[in-house]
């Protein structure tokens, strides 16, 4: 089956078994390896990408159901030299440890902050409940997210 997708702003045609997970198309056909294949059952969040602006686990999206959709992966979120506010906050707070979960964390939090730009600590934790990190204990990640809120208040954005 041939499927047309817009991936990180670029229209791409993919030929694949329609039951193939979006995650595998991204990693194996498109060489976009930022989304990680970890649990493959939607529990860990490491493969999270944006599909039409919604953060979803790409391991559970069959490619055949995505014809015409817009996909944004961690590679397409921002330019390497100008990270988005979530990425910058993670750098500033020295949040990243092994790094396996962080592409998914960034995708989830970027979409979350678009709809909830001034969240409480509890709301950030609830938003992250589908993104598992085995290194950090989460608290510094939440601190980093809340610092974005503070920066917005200071800058008046």
């Amino acid at each position: 089956m041939t499927i047309e997708l817009t991936i990180n702003g670029e229209v791409r045609t993919v030929t694949a078994d329609p039951r193939t997970a979006l995650l595998d198309v991204l990693r194996d056909s498109c060489r976009l390896t930022g989304a990680k294949a970890v649990c493959r059952e939607g529990f860990c969040g490491a493969c999270t990408v944006l599909v039409d602006g919604e953060a979803v686990p790409s391991c559970l999206r069959p490619i055949g159901m995505l014809d015409g959709r817009s996909i944004v992966t961690i590679e397409g979120l921002a330019h390497f030299e100008t990270p988005n506010p979530v990425q910058q906050a993670f750098i500033d707070h020295d949040v990243v440890q092994c790094g396996m979960c962080f592409p998914g964390m960034v995708m989830t939090l970027t979409a979350f902050l678009e709809t909830n730009p001034a969240p409480s600590r509890g709301e950030v934790k609830a938003a992250l409940s589908g993104n598992i990190c085995r290194c950090t204990g989460y608290e510094r990640i939440v601190d980093a997210v809340l610092s974005i809120q503070d920066m917005r208040k200071v800058s008046g954005r």
């Binding site: 493959r40 559970l60 159901m65 609830a126």
Partner: protein, 283 residues
């Protein structure tokens, strides 16, 4: 994979492809087939193009839910009224945020092998009706009859609508995952009750999920609570006295004894929510 635009087309596609074809809603269950060591079905019939299947209508009389309404869409659309609290919480707390954006209520209740459905016990407690279409036509089933028919009904069939009646009742939904969120709950309790003029429980409906292989009503506990006050501690005690009604299933996430041990606690928590709503309403 086929993309029917109507229920008739979908039934035709399923019939033409034979018993190995499966209807696909959110695809969150079928995409995990390899993890369950199952062969992926050779033909998917994607239902996402059928008009009205994502629709949710809320009126004072009933909530009408299309089978492809996602958990997230339902959580956002449902009002916070006490009669719908069980359904709203089942929608808002299942799985995790990413899965809730793609998993559907239809997929959740149609997957007979999935023991930890949040919607099945919630719909049992709310006395929902399920609209099913097959070659013979359209049929409305009480949710328990539908759940029991899933493995035996002649293929192909589709759930085409779910109706939850609105009544002056109080409801709650409690679940216990092994983490705070994100994984399957090892026990689920959904409760809906009426309260009479004396403040006594009338017509309790209690749905239990994840404890056994299939969800069901806890009728002995419902009868024991008839005429009792809305008392969480009393409810927990009654649940413990009747817990032999259940044989907990052993699975990777939890042994059977653990599921039955925590179920009375979930009942207490559900009645704490209900008591708060009752006191708010009374004041």
């Amino acid at each position: 994979m086929t993309f029917p635009r109507s229920v008739d087309e979908a039934l035709n596609d399923l019939a033409a492809a034979g018993p190995d074809a499966i209807p696909v809603a959110g695809a969150t269950w079928v995409m995990r087939s390899p993890l369950r060591h199952e062969v992926m079905a050779p033909v998917y019939v994607a239902l996402s193009g059928i008009e009205g299947f994502q629709r949710i209508d809320v009126t004072d009389e009933a909530v009408s839910i299309g089978p492809l309404a996602t958990h997230d869409a339902l959580a956002q659309k449902l009002p916070p009224n006490p009669d719908l609290k069980a359904l709203k919480r089942a929608s808002a707390r299942s799985a995790n945020p990413g899965v809730r954006r793609i998993a559907t209520i239809g997929g959740n209740i149609c997957t007979a092998a999935f023991a930890a459905s949040d919607f099945a016990p919630a719909l049992l407690s709310l006395d929902a009706q399920i609209e099913v279409r097959d070659k013979a036509g359209l049929e409305w089933l009480p949710v328990l009859a539908f759940l029991e028919s899933r493995k035996s009904r002649e293929l192909p069939w589709l759930v085409t609508r779910i109706i939850v009646p609105r009544t002056v009742r109080l409801s709650a939904h409690e679940r216990l995952p092994m983490r705070k969120a994100g994984d399957y709950p090892c026990a689920i309790a959904s409760v809906s009750i009426a309260v009479d003029d004396r403040g006594r429980i009338h017509d309790a409906r209690i749905g239990v999920g994840a404890v056994e292989a299939a969800p069901r009503r806890w009728q002995n506990l419902e009868q024991a609570l008839e005429g009792q006050p809305v008392d969480p501690a009393l409810t927990e005690t009654a649940a413990r006295d009747l817990i032999a009604d259940f044989t907990g299933r052993d699975a990777v996430d939890a042994p059977g004894w653990y599921r039955t041990s925590v179920l009375p606690v979930l009942l207490r928590r559900a009645f704490e929510t209900i008591r708060t709503d009752y006191e708010t309403r009374a004041s």
